[in-house]
């Protein structure tokens, strides 16, 4: 046995060819065998016997391979079952937790005003001409013949009022403010508060039906389903009015068949990259329509430019200024064309946050603007100080649902049945601002409608409306008595009536907001119980007794002995039980689940209720119990789920303390800092523990990798995108500025730095184990480096396109090039990369040396033997990394580069401290790292931080399933890369003779998933417990959604990437080096 130094320089590394290596290895083995045979005293070898032995050997190899494949299939089956359990738990909890609202079919009817049921006189106003008909006004005198609604998507309130701070999104749209001040009787401007979620589809529902959206509808934002509930457009259609629509095609999917076909011009709404097509369509078609007012009664024009500018560049960008100025001119031109019978409404459906995104419920996202204009004096102010529009959206805001009764009454149609809003004061106060009778009448009619709806709703829901002091019912009674009293007076104080009914409306709205559609506690509890049982199962699974082959692994003598035993036909027991464990687990799961699934389905079929899934929760629980029983049966002792080492305790403390922290909004908000704290703690402990290592080299290496691990984490933490709640203690660095969503020029350098350094760093990790052979140099040094480089080029092109660096270039040229480049990178990384991974030989080199003077005594060495599994599996991680690297912005790419280095450092730390096989700390740290880098790649547990524009990196338009996949890879790059790295915990520095690798990988995956399952369980439990908390929708609910999503994605990636990768890897290594047993 020669020392390694002699061997490495003897021969150039073998060409990276699978067959060559195999051939060399076999030849070397034969040479060695021949040499051994020569040395043996019993030199006479029977030919017959040798052939028999070869046959046996071949048969044994096939048997072992088959046994591995079978075990892999059962392991994958087990994880598939675990995925199902998680999905069931999440689905049940979600169905009870995410609010659902009962849809009522009732519709308001023109000649049946809701005041019919009230105790006081039906009408407050004297009868008007055409009362009770749509032409004269159903419930209120009709004021306008037709209306034009211009919806400027994402029009934030501060865009419309003078601010004077020089920001590029301020003071660019002054027209509406000026007209409101100059002629208050013709126009008014007020803040317009959206009810979250602030996605366009949800907002359109609210703006037309007057109801509160529920989170359960959020999922339909991309599908767009027709509104079935009573709404303004439905009332208009029933009254025979004609409607025209221009712009955002969401309207067409919400109101199919409502609009006059040949006049309407819908445009695709999801191409965020395109700032102008939709707006140009609107502006091109709206002016001709203004000259043919006889052809329509309602014109809806939905502009998307401001929203897209926000998504693409963020508000603080020249494109935004230009867009707002364009809108200003457009409104000005449109106003000039409005005739006396037409009402013009300009409004936003929601605002945008500091970066131009929306979806959540931060102040910037919900604060929009409403401007109404009439060419004859209609509008008034009840107080003179109301003439000037409020300086901020905090002053005198109206709710977006208030548009519904206002518009309905002004156009003479009934208020939609479900409405919860109230009439806007300015629209009914009269030019002098003194028409309190009109205001009181409108308010009372609306309030009566709300009361009627509430009665219907509670009847349908089976709950009663108790009349306790301060309750809506008591307020209603009070308002009615005020009304009756005032109506009898000579000089009637209608203002008191108005405020009494307004009070009723406010109380009802408040009650609906807090109590809307009850949480289904039973379903939530089922979800939590199933999730908790799943966690327990996984804990028992990962803590079960080992296969007890740890001691024997590296003993070639024992292996030889075992092999010869097997040659003689003995079947080792360990292998049998090992294969059987996962198999029996899956069998138990099936056995437990099937009867109840079937029973539930049959019962549902029998009773015709259609809820075929009714047996699912019971089936899940029974199958979990069956698996647990099987796990306990498989071993003599009940395994302890408590950790045995300080490292184990550290893993438990990290996981548990974070889970407990989710009960507090502060700890949830500052999760990124807390994760850094934990990561550094681990690094410090491992640096100190390294001092316990026996040799100086090991101590130095251990400390070095720990320090590197810490510093990289701190460096990566610089890349962050603050959530609103972290202000003012946080500075965003992810984009050029806090109000932008483009990268700064210096950030464009980061991908190139990574492409220069990362492959070299990886090489540095492979060289000590002599694994930088075979395909590794080409793969890492050229292919991987080039992929990273091209990703950097992509982001340069993207910046050039966004910043319009080369105005002379043909429009869309840069966009075209960059999209095809991105497609090429993704195709190479994921398709070609996977193929290469499947085909790649182990990263080893076979070296044969003949010692001088002894030609017969050939010595054979395999460089990279000690890391044969890990070095090869690394390719898969690099493939995934390249794809995520492209889809993350430059800053995120940098974070992912540091992440990779941290993974490798972590592996070395684990290896030095012998923590690779039994300790839970490795997978737990990977899970923490993955979560940490979710934050460093520019995300937060808030809907608004989803980088939707990543869908357009490899595509021009939305395409399923690729767009959601791109967004998912962008959003969850951290957890996905971490999942891909999990097998390395077991594979790193592992030689081909190591047994039971699959089992170790599955255990590591188990610990890894336990972390995410515990987080999901904790966020679930806390969100359920704190369901009345003020911060529920801002903090707890988004964190729960994130945890659930990550858990499912990690489960899937665990099967599709990690386990599948291990299968390919083990087969490739096994084919070259033979199969270890077990």
């Amino acid at each position: 046995m020669a020392p390694p130094a002699n061997l490495t320089k003897n021969k150039a590394p073998a060409p990276p060819d699978y067959k060559t290596i195999k051939k060399q290895f076999d030849a070397a083995k034969r040479a060695k065998a021949a040499q051994d045979a020569e040395q043996e005293t019993t030199a006479v070898v029977d030919d017959e016997q040798a052939r028999l032995r070869d046959r046996h050997k071949a048969a044994l190899k096939i048997a072992r391979k088959k046994s591995f494949e079978a075990r892999w299939a059962w392991t994958a089956g087990f994880w598939l079952w675990m995925l199902c359990i998680h999905i069931v738990a999440i689905a049940y909890f979600t169905s009870g937790f995410l609010l659902t609202r009962l849809m009522l079919d009732e519709k308001s009817v023109c000649d049946a005003p809701p005041t019919l049921n009230a105790s006081g006189p039906v009408d407050l106003l004297p009868a008007w001409n055409g009362k009770g008909t749509p032409d004269g006004g159903c419930w209120h005198p009709r004021t306008f013949q037709r209306a034009v609604i211009v919806l400027i998507d994402a029009l934030r309130y501060d865009f419309t009022v003078p601010v004077g701070d020089g920001a590029r999104f301020h003071d660019a749209l002054p027209f509406m403010y000026k007209t409101s001040v100059a002629s208050p009787e013709k126009a008014f401007l007020r803040p317009f508060i959206a009810d979250p979620p602030t996605s366009t589809l949800q907002r359109l529902k609210g703006l037309t039906t007057g109801t509160l959206p529920t989170l359960a509808d959020l999922g339909s934002s991309f599908a767009g389903t027709a509104i079935e509930e009573d709404n303004i457009l439905m009332q208009l259609r029933d009254a025979g009015r004609r409607m025209v629509h221009l712009g955002d095609d969401t309207w067409e999917s919400l109101f199919p068949g409502y609009f006059v076909g040949n006049l309407s011009h819908p445009e695709d709404s999801f191409n965020v990259w395109d700032l102008h097509t939709v707006d140009n369509t609107v502006m091109k078609h709206i002016f001709p329509l203004m000259d043919r007012t006889e052809d329509w009664d309602l014109l809806v024009a939905h502009c998307l430019g401001v929203d897209h500018a926000g998504h693409r560049y963020g508000p603080d960008h020249d494109e935004m200024t230009a867009k707002l100025r364009q809108m200003d001119a457009f409104i000005q031109d449109l106003t000039a064309k409005i005739d006396d019978d037409t009402l013009l409404i300009v409004m936003g459906d929601h605002g945008m946050d500091a970066k131009g995104d929306h979806g959540g419920e931060s102040d910037d996202e919900v604060e929009s603007a409403l401007w109404m204009y009439s060419s004859r004096p209609i509008f008034g102010r009840t107080k003179s100080e109301f003439v000037e529009p409020p300086a901020t959206a905090k002053i005198r805001p109206v709710n977006q649902i208030d548009l519904v009764p206002t518009l309905s009454l002004l156009l003479g149609i009934p208020i939609p049945f479900n409405n919860l809003g109230r009439p806007i004061e300015e629209a009914f106060a009269g030019p002098k601002g003194t028409a309190w009778d009109m205001l009181a009448a409108a308010e009372r009619t609306t309030a009566a409608g709300i009361r009627r709806y509430q009665a219907s709703y509670s009847a349908a829901r089976g709950s009663d409306q108790a009349e306790t002091p301060g309750s809506p019912a008591a307020l209603w009674a009070k308002a009615e008595s005020t009304y009756v009293k005032v109506a009898g007076q000579k000089k009637a104080d209608w203002a008191a009536v108005h405020s009494a009914f307004a009070e009723y409306q406010a109380a009802t709205l408040k009650k609906c907001k807090s109590l809307w559609a009850k949480f289904d506690l039973k379903s939530m509890a089922i979800g939590i119980v199933v999730m908790a049982s799943g966690v327990i199962t996984l804990l028992v699974y990962v803590n079960r007794d080992g296969d007890d082959d740890e001691e024997a692994i590296d003993d070639p003598e024992l292996d030889l002995a075992e092999q010869s035993l097997q040659l003689l036909g003995h079947k080792p027991n360990a292998e049998d039980t090992a294969v059987q464990l996962e198999k029996t687990l899956v069998a138990a799961a099936m056995f437990g689940a099937f009867p109840f699934l079937l029973g539930g389905a049959l019962q549902a079929l029998h009773s015709g209720t259609g809820d075929w899934y009714r047996g699912v929760p019971f089936a899940s629980l029974v199958s979990i119990v069956a698996v647990l029983v099987r796990l306990f049966e498989a071993q003599e002792t009940i395994p302890s789920v408590f950790p045995k080492t300080a490292w184990g305790w550290m893993a438990v403390i990290f996981t548990l303390s974070q889970s407990i922290g989710f009960a507090s909004n502060s700890y949830t908000i500052w999760e990124d800092s807390i994760l850094l704290f934990f990561l550094t703690t681990f690094g410090v402990v491992s640096a100190l523990t390294a001092l316990r290592l026996p040799t100086l080299t090991q101590r130095t290496l251990g400390t070095f990798h720990s320090v590197v691990f810490i510093l990289l984490g701190r460096l990566a933490s610089v890349s962050k995108l603050c959530r609103e709640e972290q202000m003012p203690y946080c500075t965003s660095t992810y984009y050029a500025s806090a109000t932008s969503s483009t990268s700064a020029p210096w950030q464009l350098v980061i991908p190139f730095l990574i492409s220069l350094s990362l492959p070299t760093i990886i090489k540095g990790f492979l060289t000590p184990s002599r694994s930088y052979h075979g395909l590794a140099p080409g793969y890492i040094n050229y292919a991987f480096r080039f992929g990273l480089f091209l990703a950097g080029v992509y982001w340069i092109l993207d910046a050039a396109d966004s910043g319009n660096w080369f105005p002379s270039l043909r429009e869309k040229l840069l966009k075209n090039i960059s999209v095809y480049l991105a497609q090429m990178i993704l195709g190479t990384a994921l398709v070609a990369g996977t193929t290469a991974f499947i085909w790649a030989p182990p990263s080893v080199a076979v070296v044969t040396t003949a010692e001088a003077g002894q030609t017969t005594k050939a010595k054979v060495a395999i460089l990279g033997w000690g890391n044969a599994h890990g070095a090869r599996y690394l390719f898969l991680l690099l493939n995934i990394l390249t794809a995520c690297f492209l889809l993350s912005k430059p800053m995120g790419g940098g974070a992912l580069g540091l992440f990779t280095w941290q993974i490798l450092s972590l592996l070395e730390i684990l290896d030095l401290n012998s923590l690779t096989t039994s300790s839970p700390i490795g997978p737990t740290m990977l899970a923490l790292l993955g979560t940490f880098h979710f934050f460093t790649t520019g995300h937060q547990a808030a809907l608004a931080t989803i980088q939707w524009d990543s869908a357009f990196i490899p595509l021009f338009t939305i395409r399923y399933p690729w767009s959601p996949l791109a967004v998912a890879l962008n959003t969850l790059a951290g957890p996905i890369v971490a999942t891909a790295a999990v097998p390395l915990v077991a594979l790193w520095k592992t030689d081909p003779h190591r047994k039971g690798l699959l089992e170790k990988v599955s255990r590591a995956l188990g610990v890894f998933v336990v972390y995410f399952a515990v987080e999901a369980l904790a966020t679930m439990a806390w969100a359920g417990h704190l369901r009345r908390h003020l911060m529920l929708y801002r903090v707890f609910s988004p964190r729960f959604m994130l945890a659930s999503l990550v858990l499912v994605v990690v489960d899937i990636a665990g099967i599709v990437v990690a386990l599948a990768g291990v299968r390919v890897n083990t087969l490739a290594v096994g084919d070259v080096f033979g199969w270890p047993s077990g």
Binding site: P3, K29, T681, R692
Partner: protein, 273 residues
Amino acid sequence: MPLIDPVTMSSSLTKGGAQLPTAKGKDAPSSEPTIQPIQIKPTPVAQAARHVFPLLLASLFALQFRPLVADPVSTMLTSLPVVALLQLAYVLVCLPAAGSQGGGASTASGKQKTGRKVRPGEKKKGMGGGAAAELVGPNAPVASILSLVLSVLAIPPLYIAFVCFGAPLYTLVAHTGLCAAHLAVLSLFPLFYVHGVDGGAWRAVGAFQAPFDEVFGGFVGAFVGAWLGAVPIPLDWDRDWQRWPVTILCGLYGGCLLGRVLGGSLFWGKRVA
């Protein structure tokens, strides 16, 4: 199939414990540093002072708490010399200097110092005359000054450690720096005084293999306390005392004093498994 495998056969590249025991066995003398717990000097003054100093430090901290919350930087700055003086007096009065009899410095020569194994408070006969002179030997003031210098040198690394745990890098520099200074004076200074720059002893301390005594207990307590002190910072209670680095300092002092007292009494001589 015993192929020659240079990589496997070389030192530490495969996992599993196969090579570990042998390596350990070979290096055993140097890899398992055996350091003895530090004893407080057996003089009556030292025995009294060991109880007085923690009380003094605790009352100083309690007195300074309000000003600390109001103005962390200037309070930390003004109290630092006082704390340093108290610590200086403590090490001079109570602790044996590095290299002196009873000092835990030299680890390799443990055998010849059998006389060290004395319970606290127990008088050892051999420790009269010359030994007593050595206890307050002329090197003590020099050692204390050197230790103080070394502690000051440790402030920048401690600052970096704070930053690594998430402290801001270039804002609140004075806050973090002074906090690091307090940590150095409180926990590292006595360690430097008793162990000097003995690598083996420091390795044992860093690896938590040293036996508990007042010095090591204070060291562990200060770091654990400072670590726990970070816990209340994120909470949105809007209290003044949540200001950086008040909670860290609280944990640091609390942990250090608790660790010093427990390490000197209940856990004395015990080692972390």
